[in-house]
Symmetry: C3
């Protein structure tokens, strides 16, 4: 049950309304006029609530459902107990997404510029923006329309932020050109100096980092993640990428479209990723590597060589997934002798 201290509940909805929203077919068990007040998990949903069943592994939970209604697909519907209203869709996960979006909404702050914000005279802020308390926007920065800059965030000199972007509390954006529809989470640091120096006479002399960070459209960067700007060339994050919390992306990395980078992954400098690369949590990449489109990197893997497109690799150093499993099983079998 969603806590209305935190989210708006647009409900209740009748089953009829819900069927329309998610594109479901009714089954005989449904009374179209029944009202649904909330979405809940299969375990917790009660007599006014609806739940979703889409993973066969959860079938033990399905047989114990106490919800008023359950959305599932053709194959799984027989597991749901008699007396529960069953709505059938092709893709229950997508249906969950749709009903969630329809039923709940975040409280969005009203457009305003908080009196404590510091906006340079040469900066430009578009229409319908929210600029929270203590926000700092430096000289020549350009903020698009419908943006939400949350409290204590910082936009550095000359940055360009597209339309409909959300910059989270305490986030930091410098030397960055950002597209539309991006969401930078609280505490993320974009465009900081890359880790580059020459060691001369025992002294590590900083190499000025004079590249930029280019962020495409519809990109998300997780809480406290860091993406460094380029050293000379740019660091580039393609459209639609999803970057989780506490990720490190170094200078000159270039990422294609739709990549998914799970938490605590670290990518050393000058790597090039294709489209839709998926990195599990805590993976690490040496510098100057090329990772082909659609490659999948298992969690905690250490990547020391290029990865071909559409392959699945795992381990440190990473090998094809089947080889990794063979190594694991070889080691377990033989070490016990």
């Amino acid at each position: 049950m969603v806590d209305t201290a935190f989210f708006k509940n647009n409900g209740p909805f009748t089953l009829e309304q819900i069927a329309k929203i998610i594109g479901a077919e009714f089954t005989d068990s449904c009374n179209p006029k029944d009202k649904i007040y909330d979405i809940a998990t299969m375990e917790k949903a009660g007599s006014n609530e609806i739940c979703f069943f889409y993973d066969r592994k959860a079938k033990e939970k399905a047989v114990n459902i106490k919800a008023k209604a359950c959305v599932t697909n053709q194959d799984l519907q027989s597991w749901i107990p008699y007396g529960i209203s069953v709505l059938v869709v092709d893709n229950p996960k997508l249906a969950f997404l749709k009903l969630n979006q329809a039923m709940y909404a975040e409280y969005v702050p009203e457009n305003m510029v908080h009196e404590s914000a510091t906006i340079a005279k040469t900066a430009k802020v578009g229409q319908n923006c929210y600029i929270g308390a203590n926000v700092v926007i430096e000289d020549d920065a350009l903020i698009g329309d419908n943006c939400r800059l949350e409290a204590n965030c910082y936009i550095g000199k000359g940055c360009k932020i597209g339309n409909n972007c959300r910059i989270g509390v305490g986030a930091y954006v410098t030397y960055t050109i950002m597209g539309n529809d991006c969401y930078i989470y609280a505490g993320a640091k974009l465009g900081a100096d890359g880790f580059g120096f020459n060691t001369i006479g025992g002294k590590h002399i900083r190499i000025p980092q004079v590249g930029r960070l280019i962020i495409g459209n519809d990109v998300e960067v997780g809480a406290n993640s860091c993406i460094d700007r380029g050293a000379l060339d740019d660091t580039i994050i393609g459209d639609g990428c999803r970057i989780d919390n506490l990720v490190q992306i170094a200078h000159n990395d270039k990422m294609g479209r739709g990549c998914i980078i799970v938490s605590q992954t670290g990518i050393a400098g000058s790597c090039t990723f294709g489209d839709y690369v998926v990195c599990g949590g805590q993976t690490g990449f040496a510098d100057h590597l090329t990772v082909g489109s659609g490659a999948q990197i298992g969690a905690q893997s250490g990547i020391m060589r290029d990865v071909e497109a559409q392959t699945v690799v795992m381990g440190t150093p990473a090998v094809p997934f089947k080889d990794f499993m063979r190594q694991v099983s070889f080691l377990q079998r033989n070490s016990k002798k």
Copy 2:
């Protein structure tokens, strides 16, 4: 020697006072009227200072002690050189804790609301609170009594913070219900969006994250750590948990009482931990796992399956600790041939 620029020194204390504070017995070597001005390490303690000896591995340091006095236990006291005042207790580590607490104190800022703080009209702040510079407290938030909200921290709409909590500099608390006596360190991010989306037609569509983050009593969360709120259900951190710096805890994770999570550990979504689980540094967990009470996870381990209560596991993928050591030794032995 503690730097009084940073900490108050309530000393000096006589050995008599100290014996009382830590519940020690004197030995013949002690003059109860001797004054102790500071606590120091065995290596550094000088003629006005006291040190603590509780780890047999440090016996080489013990024989070279130059301190006025040393606290130790029955078994270890014979290592301490003649001429040092020896105080004997059952648990010298606990004695250290007690004397430390008695002798030193942090400078606590006086209760006040800094003029630069932004507190929404509908928010409520309890009695005897310190609200630092640039703090932001949003609508409907409730802050208990005796809380310390340090500079630049952010409390989101509708959050409830119990009594005696300390929210560190630049910390971020949203969608959270927090108990009493919690300490959230500088830069920690609580209640951010979980990493959840459906990929439809090549686009990663965000699943609204409408759960909360529930934090029990007496919980600590380290600097720059991230705990995401639940997707639909809540993320839960039980009473007495200790979470170190740069840890990632994902949506819907549920942790029992007293768990210890060392730095840079990452726990994927929907994991369930029992009580007093201990995770070494940089451990990683796949999603939807169950970890039994008292389980201990070795540093850098990668957990892909459930872990039984009271077991010790290590490695990637993690195996029982003995098996891990066998694998290591097998590999070292055989690879050299």
Copy 3:
């Protein structure tokens, strides 16, 4: 081509000027009066630009250079196509550094104290400092000359910051004595409580952390990294250390001069590092270890024992690099049978 929204371009420079700056010899191909407007990569440099070629592995790029000029060394110059002006130096990497420093400059904010900064009456700020928006400086803090304290950063009670230091946006410095010429990146957390407690009757009782953090001269600490202060003794970071983003350094760690700690490394408490230790990304160290000067730790390694000076180790648990490669090859060979 550097974006002048973000960096100043002091150019154009003639080849003659450039030869002087980097100490190069002309070859016959050069016209000393030719003007260079920018530095670029070998792939991207065009007819007004200069590039640098210093890595033999990049020779395929060298043969396709379209730049006006290229700086390289004696050995590599024959790869560069006819028609490109070639400048020869002993160390092209160093030449790149020098020309970069000469040609580009960051926009440095003018000295000022922003009206929104909160500076305690008992704090002292040196000459020629920049104190940005919402900066907080607590009681008795001492800031040296020529410092740049960026927006939203926090300097705790009693801290001493040397001359020419830069404290990044939202950085946090407490219980710290810092030398000259340091650069603390955005969001770094210095001097937070270490992770120390005694468990008594099921309750984890915090051990007061009454040590300090001592930072030498010319130290850099990356974005969102954390260095805890000492528990009783001090945490020490020696002169010239370079610490990347998202690194964790625990209480009582002591680091010599010039160490290089790559991103996401975690060092548990009371470790002692010599000089010029290099840690690859995501390495982890157990507590109380000694790592000798010049030791190199491969990425993702897990260090459970002391490491001797000048050795190269890798793996979890780490072994000499050759042994690691032998283990990898043994496992790959034998697991496929």
